[in-house]
Amino acid sequence: MKAFGLPLIAGVVVAGLAPAAAQNLTIGLKSEATSMDPLFHQLSTNIQVSKNIFEALTTQDALQMVTPGLAESWEAVDDTTWRFTLRQGVKFHDGSDFTARDVIYSFCRVPLVENSPSAYTIFTGGIADMAAEDDHTLTITTTATNPLLPVDLWSLAVLSATALGADDQVTYGPDGTCTGMGDVPQAPAFNDPAVAVGTGPYVLDRYTRGSEVVVTRFDDYWGGTPQWEQVTMRPITSDGPRVAALLAGDVDMIESPPIQDIPRIEQGEFTIVDALSNRVIYLHMLQQEDAPGIGGTDGENPLLDARVRQAISMSINRQAITERIMGGYAQAAGELLPPPMFGTSGRDVEAYDPEAARALLAEAGYPDGFSITLGTPNDRYINDEQVAQAVAQMLAQIGISVSVDASTASQFFSRRNALEFPVYLAGWGASSGDMSSPLKSLVATYDEVTGMGPTNAGRYSNPDMDALLTTAMATIDDDARDQMLQDAQTLVLDDYGIIPLHYEQTVWAMKPDLTYEPRVDQYTLAAEVKPAAE
């Protein structure tokens, strides 16, 4: 391997100096899109590839603020009714016009998509009715108050009803009861560019599983002529080869280079951009009487005591983790979402104080500590296994003896959901970009009926917080909702119901003649890659 180092770097210098072929762009992605159907599998790789081809009524900018997309504007008519004014003069790739019918058709198709591993019905389930007042005015009625509807809509790609064989009249009905749908094409059909017809800046050229997705410029794009003649997105799943591909000039840009390789990439005169992501890495603690994997407490669960949880939080030197393990590409976290995102309060990061932590443990009745298992995935988050080991070291210093149980993501998540870990390390990316997302999933009381707390594998429960969150999630007024979410989070964090560790930073590396505005949602959107200003 080493022997190849020199020629590689030599190749880089040549590639770096040569005038860029400004019309084509090749991107190395860290995972592969599983389908070209934008409503098949809710997976970030699929989303970031499909965003080049398909658009939605709304978009989110790099900071996850909702901005107009195919809808020019919208308003909440009452608590459950929204009116969207659609953009005029938008063309699909096949030349047909974009109208309200396409939107209704696309949303109608969601429950009809077969074999979806992660269905988009989580966004359409709450839509009671849709009606086109005219070709460019659409009303959407929701079953319950949903202030986040415009956010949710970003996830729902608009397909061409005509290209997919719909009737002239498509009428909405909830849960797959629409009429006029014709013969609905399933996901595999979208490998055909004649079916994968959207309004986005790029047209699907070919999708070769395992090797590449190629898209070409859509000249009639409503938002102006797109930058690139052709964009190739190539999955290179191993970190080392992905970096090597950039250094060798095989690709122009890569996402998520491993942190430890960044200095080497920078030395090669490449541009590195990075930004805080919406992903927080946290520790969750099993807060119920019956907890496995704890020793030295006579069968009691010490994590039920808030002082013990506080001691754990105070024993962690977050600064050291972000500097030493994360190489500076992370930020110590005080909240479940980095400020200034929606619902954050700017709360301070917990101060590192092992002395006070030991005192708290003694006060709680565990002067000699106890032993506990810490579960962590080893291939899901940036350096996850290393972070877990560092946490174990720090807990050892206050007398808590930790055995780190690291496993691959699929196994980890299954075991976590089965409550096998008394403490576990995981991450949460708020796809909606607001505080209700982590609160609802991670710390709201687990309830299968209301669908709250699905990822609350610590079984934390705080009725006051639940009440506040439920009210917030049904409040349309942004300011009031913001305040309620802040208060709800404060209730949880004051109680040490969950312990935030750090926010991941997302990194992109590219040739010096390119630039990319880093996104908090970690998406690599080819359409947003621009030539660097001279």
Binding site: V243, D261, R264, R324, I325, N378, Q393
Partner: protein
């Protein structure tokens, strides 16, 4: 006159002595043996000679993480002759402890696998018939799968842990010994001395273990030396793939895996030193094993 009454005493060496004599004729094999003994001593004595206990989290500090060879600890002032890994583990100590785990796993699993394999193999050869064919079909079936695949599935089911790795290695290895012992025992069973033993109405157990087994040992030793290197390599591979020993108690394979991510970024020492230790160990055992095979195999004698 004297030729019949007092024959010149021909010195007949004991088999062990003969083997030892022939063994030392190959210098490389001797070097391999010395290396292996050294490695074994280091592994056994690791807790007393290693500068740090790399498995004790209290002794580690991430502030010492990723230091190159020769740097001095900020916390304790100790010198890290081979550098540290990202968790602040002294690589020298980690390698010593890693060797210990790797060898321990290999030796224990080997002993268990040989015991099981020998009992099964000798019984199959001695009793023959249906018992033999059933047992050997199972052996065939198992040998037709790659060992690594079976071990991976087993460990995915069992989870991480030294005891579980040993169990997995025993399960994938016993069949080799069963097959080896059976084939040599088959040959021996047909010989006269077994018939003689049977005529004496000795118990089956006695015949199998006192008469049959000792004659099956030489091929067993050869297979065992090959397999012990294989076992070390297999454990390293499993740990490298993340299903072996716990991450806070790394074996050589896990140390290599941990350092793999840093190989390209210049922190070569995290991966390279344990890699060298692993390779030297395996080669030393192989060299010894090859020589033993030559010495023990009568057909290669000239």
């Amino acid at each position: 006159m004297t030729d019949i009454a007092t024959p010149t005493p021909v010195r007949i060496d004991s088999p062990a002595k003969r083997i030892a004599k022939q063994f030392v004729e190959d210098r490389i094999a001797v070097i391999g043996l010395i290396l292996f003994v050294l490695i074994a001593i280091i592994a056994i004595a690791a807790p007393w000679i290693a500068p740090q206990n790399p498995y004790d989290l209290m002794q580690l500090s991430i502030m010492d993480g990723g230091l190159p060879p020769g740097e001095v600890s900020m916390a304790t002032g100790q010198t890290f002759w081979l550098g540290t890994d990202p968790q602040g583990r002294d690589m020298l100590s980690a390698i010593m402890y890693g060797l210990r785990i790797s060898l321990m796993v290999a030796v224990v699993s080997l002993t268990l696998a040989i015991t099981i394999g020998t009992i099964v193999g000798v019984s199959a050869a001695y009793f023959g018939g249906r018992f033999d064919s059933i047992v050997m079909r199972i052996v065939d079936l198992q040998l037709s799968f790659p060992a690594i695949l079976i071990a991976l599935i087993l460990l995915a089911l069992l989870g991480r842990g030294v005891d579980k790795v040993i169990l997995a290695l025993v399960i994938v290895q016993w069949a080799y010994y069963a097959r080896t012992v059976r084939s040599s025992a088959m040959v021996e069973t047909r010989k006269d001395y077994i018939d003689a033993a049977r005529c004496l109405a000795l118990s089956n157990r006695r015949i199998m273990f006192r008469h049959l087994l000792p004659n099956c040992v030489p091929p067993l030793i050869v297979v065992a030396t090959v397999q012990i290197a294989q076992a070390i390599a297999l454990e390293a591979t499993l740990s490298f793939l993340g299903v072996g020993v716990p991450i806070t108690e790394p074996s050589l394979g896990l140390l290599i895996a941990n350092g793999y991510d840093y190989l390209l970024s210049g922190r070569y020492w995290v991966s390279v030193f344990p890699g060298v230790a692993l390779v030297v160990t395996i080669i030393a055992i192989n060299v010894v094993g090859d020589r033993l095979r030559d010495v023990l195999n009568p057909r290669l004698q000239t």
